[in-house]
């Protein structure tokens, strides 16, 4: 198979498999998961193939149907989205393997539907990442969002209402993005990102362009739950099925951060975003607010999963702040944090999934005595926690290190303070969890008069614990190979104009 076709295959294979899966599901529910796994293995293979081609030959421009841009749509893969593609497809694959038992327990009636939406969501996220066309990005953004609404809504009782709020907020975000693209289109007559990048510099003085940029940013910020616009995220993610949370929590916000970086640097340019617009500091301050508010709100929770969703909100602040600090170290840190945060969030949400699978709840009281009853799960969880706090050699340390270096370089002491504050709060948050899990005696949650025989709480099933351990190992391995990732990939993803 020619590697020249990889950029389209990594999207087309999961997309077409969604149809096959739906038909297969009619015959037998058991066929669904294998189809998902085969399709995602194909995607992972194509993603890594694409990334290695990019590392050797530089940016790939794949013309769909051989139509020349700016008329045709093209897929563009460079170092930045090559990396994000690998993250999205790998997380999709690992979560698919992990989801088997969890979905069988939580949604026994809807397995084919669940996996059809699952694979479409991964398709949407991969498409957002790979496309080089601003309008195509909107469509894929909505494909990802629509499937996510449905996947989040099939969870616990409250999930439907929180998912409805997400529909409203998500649509506002997408419409703002679309309006912004419309503004750019009025002025330039083009939707191709590389073409726009060439046409826009002459128009940087225009108010239309500035307003268009602001609208796109607001749209993307809603999608990535940047602080004042984060309201939809905690409830939607908390009440979702475990498998959905594991897929959506690490990927949705991270892919939106990628879109923000792509718009800022590849559609517009660093000079425009950092020099023509004088709003850089305001946004770093917003990021500071996001980090502090996310951390404090996380402290106030008594629900383990909800606490993690507020940690996600705080982490978005890390990445947004890093990008808008506008120096090489900070942007390197932000891009590295896309990778690291996806892995850390995945690790923590997978732990929650196993706890929910065994104890049927995600309150703090469900955690009592779990270090004794499920030692393997909780050990992997501890690795995730150490990474979240930023303890070397886990990868969380390195991205935080780059972000702090960037803050020092930019002399933005408040942002640095917020990063350190958030690490401290994370330590408090997670040591509280570890304390409950380690020292509080185990209580049987099924004790009060359930008519069915209570299941004993023990180690989670292998198909869930092994993926969790793979992710925990990845946290350490990525941490140890950070310098390699930075010099080979991320270094080239940071625009050259930035010092």
């Amino acid at each position: 198979m020619s590697s020249a076709q990889f950029p389209i295959l990594l999207v087309a294979v999961p997309l077409l498999s969604a149809f096959i899966l739906n038909i297969a599901g009619w015959f037998n529910k058991k066929y669904c998961l294998p189809v998902v796994i085969v399709a995602l293995v194909g995607s992972v293979y194509a993603s890594f193939g694409t990334l290695f081609t990019v590392l050797e030959q530089g940016t790939i421009r794949y013309r769909l149907g051989a139509w020349l841009p700016p008329m045709g749509i093209e897929y563009v893969v460079d170092h930045l989205n090559g990396l994000v593609l690998c993250i999205v497809s790998s997380v999709g694959l690992i979560t698919a393997i992990y989801s088997k038992r969890s979905v069988e327990q939580e949604l026994p009636e809807r397995i084919p539907q669940f996996y059809t939406l699952y694979i479409l969501l991964v398709t949407g996220l991969l498409g957002i990442t790979v496309t080089g066309d601003a309008f195509n990005l909107y469509v894929l953004l909505e494909i990802a969002a629509l499937t996510a609404y449905a996947l989040l809504a099939v969870g616990e009782d409250r999930a439907v209402l929180s998912s409805f709020h997400y529909v409203i907020m998500g649509t506002i975000g997408a419409c703002f993005y679309l309006l912004g693209v419309g503004f750019l289109y009025i002025k330039t007559g083009s939707l191709n990102m590389i073409d726009l990048h060439g046409l826009l510099p002459g128009l940087f003085g225009s108010n239309v362009i500035v307003v268009g940029f602001a609208m796109i940013m607001i749209g993307v910020w809603v999608k990535m739950a940047f602080f004042p616009l984060h309201g939809w995220l905690p409830n939607a993610y908390t009440y979702a099925p475990s498998a959905t949370s594991c897929l959506v929590a690490p990927l949705m916000t991270k892919v939106s951060v990628y879109v923000m970086i792509r718009i800022m640097f590849s559609v517009f340019s660093p000079e425009f975003t950092f020099e023509v617009l004088a709003c850089r500091h305001i946004i770093v301050w917003l990021a500071v607010a996001a980090i502090i508010a996310g951390s404090l709100l996380a402290l106030a929770q008594t629900d383990f999963k909800k606490m993690l969703t507020y940690v996600v909100v705080a982490e978005v602040g890390y990445m947004a702040g890093g990008v808008w600090l506008a120096n090489t170290a900070a942007i390197t840190g932000a891009i590295l944090h896309i990778l690291n945060d996806a892995l850390m969030t995945l690790c923590l949400f997978m732990t929650v999934g196993i706890i929910v699978y065994k104890t049927r709840g995600h309150q703090f009281e469900n955690l009592k005595g779990l270090y004794r009853t499920m030692p393997f799960t909780m050990t992997a969880f501890t690795v995730g926690v150490l990474s979240m706090m930023g303890v070397p050699p886990t990868c969380g340390f390195f991205s935080k290190w780059y972000l702090i270096l960037g803050a020092i370089r930019a002399e933005h002491w408040v942002f640095m303070g917020a990063l350190l504050f958030s690490s401290l709060v994370n330590a408090v948050l997670f040591f509280r969890i570890i304390e409950i899990g380690y020292f509080e005696p185990f209580t049987d949650h099924h004790a009060h008069g359930d008519d069915h025989q209570p299941e004993p709480i023990d180690e989670g099933p292998l198909s869930m614990v092994v993926p969790l351990w793979i992710v925990a190992a990845a946290l350490v391995i990525v941490g140890m190979y950070t310098s390699g990732i930075v010099t080979k990939v991320i270094q080239f993803a940071v625009p050259e104009a930035i010092v």
Partner: protein, 139 residues
């Protein structure tokens, strides 16, 4: 006044956007929120379509120079008269925004569909679509 009349299409779009945004944020009834969402999406669609228009009698590309059976029969003949049939972009409205909005309409319809399905499910569970009553029940 001149400012408003000359760009009236944008003003209409802005008014519609604000109505939609208000309904989505301030209304208590979930169906009204959904209606607000539809108005908001429609405003964006109208915005795109109105930017395609050109003054001076520009028409839709398929109306003039129709390529029906006549064109197929006289393909060779047409080639000779090609100069007379040269296409001037100025005569036609820009078709691209319309095409883009076809896709956006599909997206809007599916979003509405998903939202309606969610509302149905909410109604089955709580017996109401008023948000405050639902929140009361959740507590």
């Amino acid at each position: 006044m001149e400012f408003i009349v000359a760009k009236y299409n944008y003003w209409i779009v802005i008014v519609l956007l604000m109505i939609g945004l208000y309904a989505m944020i301030a209304k208590n009834n979930l169906i009204k929120k959904l209606i607000g969402m539809c108005i908001f999406q429609t405003a964006v669609i109208l915005f795109y379509v109105s930017t395609a228009a050109k003054s001076g009698g520009a028409t839709i590309p398929i109306i003039e120079h129709g390529h029906g059976h006549e064109a197929a029969a006289h393909a060779a003949h047409e080639a000779a008269h090609h100069a007379a049939h040269a296409v001037h972009a100025i005569d036609y409205v820009n078709p691209l925004p319309h095409v883009l909005m076809l896709t956006a309409i599909v997206v809007a319809v599916s979003t509405t569909g998903v939202a309606l399905a969610l509302i149905m499910s909410i109604y089955k569970r709580y017996g109401t679509v008023e948000e405050d009553e639902i929140l009361e029940q959740i507590k």
